[in-house]
Amino acid sequence: MLRDAALIFRGELILTRRSWAPMALSIAQPLTWLLLFTPLMVGLMKETPDSPTGGAWMVMTPALTIYLVLMNSAFTGYKLLGDLSNGVLERMRVTPASRTALLLGYAMMTVVQTVIQSMMVFLLAWALFHLPITFAGTVLTLGVGALLTFTLTACSITLALVAKSEPIFTAIISTGLLPLTLLSGILMPITPGLAPQWLYILSRCNPLTWIADLTRATFTGNYAFEPVVIGGGILLAITVMSLWWGTRTFNREIL
């Protein structure tokens, strides 16, 4: 299974190498966030009552990872819609490659891209703003980011296969992405002191909020029960669910 996934990933890698400009730009994009947006937030959070502990930079930097994860994975489905219409996906589905391998292979590129981008952010934050980053914290946070990217990419791919049409897929993604992003508190932490109660409760219903807390915890090395165990549990649960949903969809017929 891993071999099949690696074969598909190799194909994707060749495509990326052949047209590397979009990839280069997408890797540069998080730096814009870090340089132009984070300083603003740092200033703002000093004034804000009961903001998350650990210093503003340590809060914002891991949150950027989640932001990258969301942006990268949401649109991976487009690639699948292309392969669906030119018949490549059908050819893959006639091969004995396991359906999970197809899903893994298609999702892997996005995972790699996100990990590279996040690493750039961490390195830059460390080099320019002297963030007290630990090796374990970085690795753990990247791990969480990678797993989440895989999960959300699998969802995007599966959604594309279910929607089967570009306009429908675009509509679903663009409608869903913004509330999911805002409610996760990655750009602007949603705390009881800052947000009205209903908004706070809503944000706690968003699994991404818990995972954002998890990255902050791993990044700062502050391994408290709530973010680590509950956040980690939620992450594993949605990973398993997306894997199941994706494999099932690949297994079903796709007209």
Binding site: G11, L15, D83, G87, E90, V94, P96, E253
Partner: protein, 318 residues
């Protein structure tokens, strides 16, 4: 090698049900060359997509290459090759990359996949194009690549959905030669659909004629053509005399099923050669300046005409 019982599939489009395939029974032995022949929309592609595990049948059962289609789809996939009607290649990859990855996805080692890619590229006259991006290939070259991808892993059974569509006569000949070699050397079972009646006639051990989702006739090309007893006679005359000519033809006691296409009168007789002198005398007597008169051996299209009253040729492929 392929057995089906009541294989059926319907689709729902805008609340309407389309019965694309309505209970097909097929029995293909190992090593045979079989053609599924039928007009557009007859259900050929739908049948193939069911047999290659892409579509779930709404009813019926099938075994392909000794594996049950419904309970062991992976087993089926391992043993077959499928070339879809519309192909399935990625324009940004090179020919070599596509072939090698395909081989490896079927479990060949890297070295073996490389070797086989070279072989099929050679056989389908793609040599010299290995390093080209697929998007730079011509339509016919691309079609040959599709076929090569279906053969790279030396499957037991290969399904070719209109493999020669868009190929020039040389490439068509080369492709059929390759398919014949496959059957001779490896005993591969080959199941094809085609619109070209002559190809079906030349290539097949068995022809299945499908119309409106049902197999309406099957047998060797010879046996099928023998069903159309006798020959077809075609008389071409000046257009204004075509009705008179038809009347003369109809008067002959042994002629059946007369029809008029343009300025040609066609009819069916048991012995074409013996009919010609009579016909010429009758036309002379009526003062009709005959332009041509010929006896045509029955083709597979005549079978279709006999069975359905329609011609496959009348619906050129879309």
């Amino acid at each position: 090698m392929i057995t089906t019982h009541g294989l059926a599939r319907s689709f729902h489009v805008d609340g309407r049900r389309i019965d694309a395939v309505k209970g097909v029974d097929i029995d293909v032995s190992a090593g045979m060359g079989v053609t599924l022949l039928g007009p557009n929309g007859a259900g050929k592609t739908t049948s193939f997509r069911m047999l290659t595990t892409l579509l779930r049948p709404t009813a019926g059962a099938a075994t392909v290459a000794g594996r049950d289609l419904l309970t062991d789809p992976t087993g089926v996939r391992r043993r077959i090759g499928y070339v879809a009607q519309g192909g399935g290649t990625c324009g940004e990859h090179t020919v070599r990359e596509e072939l090698e990855t395909q081989g490896q996805l079927y479990g060949l080692s890297r070295a073996k996949a490389r070797l086989r890619s070279g072989e099929v590229a050679e056989q389908l006259e793609l040599n010299g194009l290995e390093n080209r991006l697929v998007k730079t290939l011509s339509g016919g070259q691309r079609r040959r690549l599709d076929v090569a991808l279906g053969l790279v892993h030396s499957p037991l059974v290969v399904f070719l959905d209109e493999p020669t569509a868009g190929l020039d006569p040389q490439s068509r000949a080369a492709l059929w030669k390759r398919v014949h070699m496959l059957r001779a050397e490896l005993g591969t079972t080959v199941f094809v659909t085609t619109h070209y009646l002559e190809e079906a006639d030349d290539f097949s051990d068995q022809v299945l004629i499908i119309d409106h989702g049902k197999i309406i006739a099957e047998g060797t090309p010879e046996a099928l053509k023998a069903k159309v007893a006798g020959h077809r006679v075609e008389v071409t005359v000046p257009i204004e005399m075509v009705q008179t000519t038809a009347a003369i033809a109809a008067r002959h006691p042994q002629s059946t099923r007369p029809s008029i296409i343009g300025n040609t009168v066609r009819f069916q007789v048991p012995m074409g050669d013996a009919m010609i002198p009579h016909m010429i005398r009758a036309l002379d007597y009526a003062n009709i300046p005959t332009l041509s008169i010929q006896v045509v051996q029955p083709t597979l299209d005549d079978i279709f005409l006999l069975l359905t009253g329609r011609s496959i040729r009348e619906n050129p492929s879309t």
